[in-house]
Amino acid sequence: MQRNLQRLTLLLLIGFAVTGALLGYWGVVRAPALASREDNPRTILAERRIQRGRILDRNGHVLAETVGEPGAFTRHYPYPQAAPAIGYYSLRYGLLGVEAAYDATLRGTSGDFWRAQWDAWLQRPPQGRDVRLTLDLATQRAADAALGERHGAVVLLSLPDGAIRALASHPTYDPNRLDETFEALRTDPGAPLLNRATQGLYQPGAVLETVVLAAALEQGVIALDDPAPKAIQPLELSGGRLSCARIPGNASAPQGEGSSYLAAYIHACPSPFAELGPRLGIDRLRETWARFGLDQAPSLPIPTTAGVVGQPPADGEALRLAAAGQGELIVTPLHMALVAATIAEEGYRPQPYLVEAVQAESAEGSAWQPAAPRRARPVLTPAVAQALAGAMRRAVTDGAAQAANTPNGVVAGHAGVALAGPGRYHAWFIGFAPANAPRYAIAVLIEDSASAAQAAQVGSKVLRTAFD
């Protein structure tokens, strides 16, 4: 029986060895693959143990914070309407915006290597680091209040650096309730998940006149005082017509033939600028779009989109449409805010940014690492930019953007409408303030509104709050 017993024992020992080998396979070889499977509940549990850093506005107001007990942490957004600027953090639907772009910082995993090893050894979840945005909560509130229930977007930049002070997109969503509402949000025809300010592509329409005028002035094709052809003639388009955004009873409104380009501009008359299209030519127009950066996606931690330039128009009619902002070019409100900033900054286009500083270490009161400043790029000669700035000031005092005028009279801007589809108009306003020494630039877009004055009014409200 001894032999039999030895054989049986050997058989059992082989069984133990095979068990050990398979255990090593699951525990070492396949461990990373198993750990990263989305149905592994440990991923979520580990996530709930991390005290994620806060996201603050420039004055230290909390925009996003982690609340609760370790193991049951949840993300809380005290001001949910800032979602377009911040994004969201969801265990089910992932990360977006600053939450995604600064995930490593917020989780605290990109700190000191040895400390990370030590924490990992002790099973200590990393302590998140805070991120401070350029956003100004008061201004952001004003932008949200000014837009109200209307669909649209507001982008407010600080000058000369291009820091984003407010970024509103309506309708928006509540990131605190994302998990419960995501499916409804995704299928909502109002597209609340779309960030209209940086990703919404819109027909620029009359508000593109600033860009076209800049190109024409720089090339010496026209001067501001030159008489504009067909000054008050409406522009007939398939699906609707565009005419001057004139204010009734305004003495300086263009009266017919002989009115100047300046008068046409301040009242956002489309036809004279359409006529500039063939005179400038397709190459010049495209080169102008490119110089203003309309064909590029501004680099921000939140998702942005490049303007769509489209194919070069083949004939004069297409060129006319392109110069009137009714061609294939579509842009985001952020692009237009940068156009306003370029004029305000005497031809230099600032690079927008959203994150002001990140905490150097994950400790209370730790030092802040400021974001590296990015240099503005020259776009226009100062003379042309100044001429346009003057024209924009006139548009507010005497023209279509009068609604943007403030009691202390410092806003410069341009308001107009765009034909977005058959019978559908969007209202635009771009501007800056104060007119003589600009500190803020703005772009406002209101969907389904044919009233340029309405956009100007929203812009004025937001600018006024920014000054206070």
């Binding site: 029986m1 039999n4 068990t19 525990g27």
Partner: protein, 452 residues
């Protein structure tokens, strides 16, 4: 201890040449027990530290454990001065580890498990108090058989499940749930050892040469091979068939396959006929296929074993969660109290091995595997050194039970074989299992005292 010593029967006087050996054995056992105790205390400290609170029952674990082990150690030293000094510390440390795992995984059951540890220790001590020749065990084999069948019948008729739904494998004895299949396992081993031994003795009566084991084996084998061996084999087959049918009836697949493997192993042990093993494995495979065709529970387990990945949230949930726990453990583990082993369903019983691997890592899991390997080897050693064939068959059968049961549940946890619900001896929650395991350790210690 002095009072206890007065109650104990007078130990047999050792011949002088064995005295130093007895002392060495006593010392070795004491050192090993202390190492085990140290391991448990470190774990309690870790758990208390991680939880940041002191629990009375938790603090009670080391003293209760120490008292149990001291009692067993003292009794063994007095009554069986020569015995295998590894068995008690190994079983004791595993059982203590099991209690700590209950504390970690299902704190509500800690008190029960700790009580069962005391009961199990008393069981072990009782076995050692009984006459060392184990003749009583051999003599009353039909009593054991009848008892086993009665238990099974009782389970069939009166069985309950403490959790409500599920297989009704327990008997309710005044609020204490008790799992007859655990005892049945022990009774099966005793009965088989006795029966095979008797057939062997019958054989020995016909031959003059008692000492030649190879001869024995050959003769026994020839008897089993001949058609005339059928009458001898028939009771065995009936016994087996009854067990298996009843167990399949109750859907207790783990116990059914364990019984069958132990039956095959002991038959091979006695006969040396590999064809029994092969035929038996073919039968097992056929049984598995039949079960797959007939029973949902078998189909579910086999499907989840073959390819769990498409159904990780439904039918293969358990096994996939078990693998996740193993993967989360890595080499050194997450640390006691720091993992998430309670994500695995029934982590404290069927999946205690996966839960242990998550927090103690491959290091801890390999320690468990090595512990069972050592247990099997020591049991086999005791079997080889045993004085009588009955004792050899008994110890060999116990080695098979421990080895096969550990392999079935560990292999099931890591997708080596389809998952079946048996306990991991000593470590899983379950009083019946712990008590029977300790009784088996007691029997092994009895057999190991033959080495004197």
């Amino acid at each position: 201890m002095a009072a206890w010593a007065a109650l104990l029967p007078r130990p047999a006087r050792l011949p002088p040449y064995l005295e130093s050996r007895a002392e060495r054995i006593q010392r070795q056992e004491r050192v090993l027990l202390m190492l085990g105790g140290l391991f448990l205390i470190l774990n309690i400290l870790t758990l208390t530290g991680v939880r940041g609170e002191i629990r009375l029952l938790e603090i009670a674990i080391p003293p209760v454990w120490a008292a149990c082990m001291a009692l067993a150690h003292f009794t063994l030293s007095r009554l069986r001065p020569i015995h295998d000094p590894i068995l008690l510390p190994l079983a004791g440390t595993f059982a203590g580890w099991g209690v700590i795992l209950m504390d970690r995984l299902a704190p509500a059951l800690l008190g029960q498990q700790l009580t069962w540890l005391v009961v199990a220790t008393l069981g072990l001590v009782s076995v050692v108090l009984l006459p060392p020749d184990l003749r009583w065990l051999r003599r009353f084999r039909y009593t054991w058989l009848t008892l086993g069948l009665a238990l099974l019948a009782a389970t069939l008729l009166l069985g309950v499940n403490p959790l409500g739904d599920g297989p009704r494998l327990w008997l309710n004895l005044g609020g204490i749930y008790f799992q007859p299949s655990e005892f049945l396992k022990l009774l099966l081993v005793v009965y088989l050892a006795s029966y095979l031994h008797e057939k062997r003795e019958m054989l020995l009566e016909q031959t003059d040469d008692e000492g030649q084991k190879t001869e024995d084996k050959r003769r026994l084998a020839s008897i089993l091979r001949l058609p005339s061996s059928a009458p001898y084999l028939a009771p065995l087959l009936v016994m087996w068939g009854l067990c298996v049918i009843l167990l399949i009836w109750q859907r207790d697949l783990g116990a059914a396959s364990l019984f069958f493997i132990v039956f095959l192993g002991m038959l091979y042990l006695a006969s040396g006929q590999a064809r029994y093993l092969i035929a038996g494995l073919v039968l097992l495979l056929l049984g598995g296929l039949l079960g797959y065709a007939l029973f949902d529970v078998v189909r579910l387990r086999v499907d989840a074993w073959l390819n769990p990945w498409p159904e990780t949230r439904t039918r293969a949930f358990q096994i996939v969660q078990s693998l996740y726990a193993v993967a989360a453990g890595g080499v050194l583990g997450r640390g006691l109290g720091l993992g998430a082993p309670t994500l695995v369903p029934v982590a404290h019983s069927d999946f205690v091995f996966a839960a242990l691997t998550e927090e103690f890592g491959l290091a801890g899991a390999f320690a468990v595997i090595a512990g069972f390997a050592v247990l099997v080897v020591r049991a086999a050693r005791a079997a080889i050194l045993a004085h009588t064939a009955f004792r050899t068959l008994l110890a060999g059968g116990i080695a098979l039970v421990f080895g096969a049961q550990a392999l079935i549940i560990m292999g099931g946890n890591i997708r080596l074989i389809p998952l079946t619900g048996v306990t991991l001896p000593f470590l899983s929650y379950g009083g019946s299992s712990l008590l029977v395991s300790f009784i088996m350790i007691g029997l092994l210690i009895q057999v190991s005292s033959d080495a004197a």
